[in-house]
Symmetry: C2
Subunit: 398 residues, 2 copies
C-alpha cells in the first residue's frame, strides 16, 4: 500500500530509539540515570501550577490564532528587560518551540530549498525538515574546537541559489556552546550579503554560565527584518508538557504569513497560555538560583567526565548538554550495551548516541550527548558508572 | 525579500477575514449574533474543569509522543461503546483535530499528490493542503440535493494516478449532511478498486438528530487498513481551547509513520490530556441532553430560514451548521454589509460567506454557512435580523 515518501523518510526520534532497551533494563530492576534527555528536574514554578487551579471556564473556547495578547505582551516585555525592543505584535504564540521551528522552515523555504545548520544539531530539526520537505545543509563543527563557528569562508562555501536561511541555536543543544557577538556578526554579514533569513533557536537563553551574557540575534538591528527567533517556555520554566512556544519577528510580512499557518491550526492551548503568563509574571529573579544550580552541575559533570581516560570534551558554557567524545568506535552500540549488559550496584546510565545529532553520515560515531538535568549526587554516581562501564566495554570490544 | 510560495498561497482564514468589520461594529455599540463560527456555547463539563484544578505537578514534563496511554484507551473504549473494535494502539493523540488532519495529509500524500474532498468543505483543509503541499480535488455537491454524494461514476471521474485518498466529513461541516451507509459504501468500493486511503473527519459524531445513527468509516472492515479517522474533543465536550484530538487507524504502518511525525513535535499538552480523560470518563449519557438541545435549535433555525423569501436549504441532519442559499449575488459583500451598514435595535448578525468553503472558483457566491451555536431565543432574534436585512439589502442592491 502507498505511504508517502516523507513518511518513510522522516527519522524516528534517535533519542527515543533506545527506549525498549531501557524498558527491559527497568523490568530487570535496574535503576537508570537519564543523561539522555533534556527533561529538567527543576519543579514547575508554583504560579504555573496555580494558574491551572484558577482556571474557571465556563467555556474552554478557541483563543486567537496568534495567542492571547497578554501573553504576547509579557513575552515582549521579557525581551525588553534584556534591552531588546519588541512589541506584542512581534510575538506569535506557538504550540511549543516545535511548532515555531515548523512554521519558520515553512515560511522561509519551499520544498527542495535549503537551510544551513551547524552540526551537531538538535535532532528534531531533521523531523521538521522532512515534514516541510526542506533540505538541511550541515555546517560541520568539531569537538576539538568546542563546536565554535568556522571562518566565514567555510560557511559561505555552503550557500547555493536554493539557500534560504541559516539557523543558529545558542546556547546550543546539543553542544552547550554559546556563540560570541563576533561569531554571530560573521553570520549576520553573510545573511545580508546573500539575502537570507537568520533563524535563531534561543530557547536556552537563560542557561548561560560563568557570568556570560547571552547575545540574541534580535540585537542585530542591521538585519532586523531577516531575523526569526524560535522561543519556548519548556526549559525556561520547567514546563515541557505545556507546549507553549513563540515565533518572534519584526518582519511584518513574515509575521502575517506565519499567522496564516497559525490560523489553519486555530489556536494554541488556552489554559496553558494562562500558565505561561503566570510564569513570565514571576520576573527574572526566578532564574538566578536555577542558573547557579545548573552551573554547579555543569562543573561536576565537566570535571568528572574529563577525569575518565579517553574522554574528550570542552567546557560547555550554556544550555544543559555537552557533546563529548568517548573511547569507543560505535556510541550507539555502547549506549545500548550499557542498558542490556552493564550495571553497577543495580544502576546504569542512558546517554544519547552522537550520530542522531548529525546529518553527515558517519559523523558522531564516537560521541554522545550528555544532559545534566540530574541533581549533583546523582550526577556523581552516573559519572562513576560511566567510568567503570567504559573500562569494561573497552576490555570487551577494544 | 524572499518568502516561500506556500506562505504566499496559504489562505487567510475566510471565516476570520470579516473580523475587522465586526470589531468596528462592536465599537459602535452594535451587538453581534455570531452565526459565523462553530464555537459551542455549551459550558465545558465540570469534570474537565476539575481536572485542571486537580493537576499537581510537581514537574510538567514531556509525555509520550503518542499521548498518554489512559487517554488512548479511553478513546478506544468510547468507540467500542459504539460497536467499533479498537485498541489503545490504534489511537494516537494529536494537538487538536487540526494536527490530525495535517498528519493524515502528510502520511498519505507527497507534494503534488491529490486528495478528493466533497465541496463545500471545512475551510482549514485548504490551509493544511497548502502547508503539506497537497492538492485538494473538489467533488462538487449541490444545495438542491442536500449535499448528498453523487453516483460513483462522478466520483471516479476525479481519480488520477496521483490520487492518494478520499476525505469524507460526516456529520458534515459546513453542510450538516450525514452520509448514509449506502453513500459510504459507494466510496468504500472506489477506495478498494483504486488502492486509496479513506480519511474520515468524524469530529461531530455525537451531533446527529432525528434518531439517526452515525455510521463511521471504521465500521467497514473490508477496508480497515485503508481507514484513517480524524477525531477531536473540541466540539464533543465543548473544549475547543484544549487542543486535544486523535488519529485513529488500524493500519500499523500508517500508525508508525504518524508516530514519527508526532515525535518531531515531542508530545501533546499534558494537563489538557488529563482534562480530556476526565471528559471521556463521563460516559455517553452526557451527550443526550446536548443532542436534544441542538436538535431543537436546528428545528428553530431550519423553520426560520425557510420562511424567509428567497432562502433555500435542506434540513441538516447533523453537526451544527447548514449551508443555505440566499437571494444575493455576492454573499461576501452581504456579510460585510450586515456588519458595516445594518442593524436592528442595535443588533446584527455575522455569517460565514460561502466561497470560503469551496475550492472551485465562483462556487458558493450566493451561499452562507450558518452555525446554530446560540440558545433558542437568540437564534429567533438572529433569524428576524437576517429576514429584515435581506429585505433591505435586496432593495438596495437588487
Amino acid at each position: 500500500m502507498f505511504i508517502s515518501r516523507r513518511a518513510k523518510e522522516i527519522q524516528a526520534s534517535p533519542i527515543r530509539k533506545l527506549k525498549p532497551f531501557a524498558d527491559e533494563a527497568r523490568k530487570k530492576g535496574i535503576h537508570i540515570f537519564h543523561l539522555n534527555i533534556g527533561d529538567p528536574d527543576i519543579p514547575t514554578p508554583e504560579p504555573v501550577i496555580r494558574a491551572f487551579h484558577q482556571y474557571n471556564g465556563p467555556i474552554l473556547g478557541y483563543g486567537p490564532s496568534q495567542g492571547f495578547e497578554e501573553l504576547r505582551q509579557a513575552i515582549a516585555d521579557y525581551f525588553v528587560g534584556y534591552g531588546i525592543e519588541l512589541t506584542a505584535d512581534n510575538v506569535l504564540i506557538t504550540i511549543g518551540g516545535s511548532e515555531a521551528i515548523h512554521f519558520s522552515f515553512s515560511v522561509v523555504a519551499d520544498p527542495g530549498d535549503e537551510i544551513i545548520i551547524p552540526e551537531p544539531f538538535y535532532t528534531n530539526y531533521n523531523g521538521y525538515a522532512t515534514f516541510a520537505d526542506v533540505r538541511i545543509v550541515p555546517l560541520p563543527l568539531k569537538v576539538e574546537d568546542g563546536f565554535r563557528l568556522p571562518p566565514a569562508g567555510q560557511i559561505e562555501a555552503l550557500i547555493t541559489p536554493r539557500t534560504r536561511a541559516i539557523l543558529l541555536c545558542s546556547p546550543n543543544n546539543p553542544t552547550g556552546t554559546v556563540y560570541t557577538e563576533e561569531e554571530l556578526q560573521r553570520v549576520v554579514e553573510l545573511v545580508k550579503k546573500h539575502d537570507l533569513f537568520l533563524i535563531g533557536d534561543e530557547v536556552y537563553k537563560e542557561f548561560v554560565y560563568d557570568g556570560l551574557q547571552h547575545k540574541s540575534i534580535l540585537e542585530f538591528k542591521e538585519i532586523e527584518d531577516r531575523v526569526i527567533v524560535v522561543d519556548s517556555i519548556s526549559k525556561r520554566f520547567s514546563c515541557c508538557g505545556a507546549r507553549i512556544g513563540a515565533i518572534i519577528t519584526r518582519n511584518e510580512e513574515i509575521y502575517q504569513a506565519v499567522l496564516k499557518f497559525a490560523q489553519a491550526r486555530l489556536c494554541p492551548p488556552s489554559v496553558e497560555q494562562l500558565a505561561a503568563l503566570a510564569a513570565y509574571r514571576m520576573g527574572r529573579d526566578y532564574f538566578r538560583p536555577i542558573r547557579t544550580e545548573y552551573q554547579r552541575r555543569r562543573d561536576v559533570l565537566y570535571e568528572g567526565l574529563r577525569s575518565i581516560p579517553g574522554v574528550f570534551l570542552r567546557k560547555p558554557q550554556g544550555a544543559f548538554y555537552v557533546i563529548c567524545r568517548l573511547p569507543v568506535k560505535d556510541s550507539e552500540h555502547f549506549a545500548q550495551w550499557m542498558l542490556t549488559d552493564f550495571s553497577l550496584n543495580g544502576k546504569t546510565v542512558m546517554v544519547a548516541p552522537g550520530p542522531g545529532f548529525y546529518a553527515t553520515p558517519g559523523r558522531g560515531q564516537d560521541e554522545v550527548r550528555i544532559a545534566y538535568v540530574l541533581k549533583e549526587e546523582d550526577l556523581v554516581e552516573a559519572i562513576e558508572i560511566l567510568r567503570q562501564s567504559l573500562e569494561k566495554y573497552r576490555k570487551l570490544f577494544g
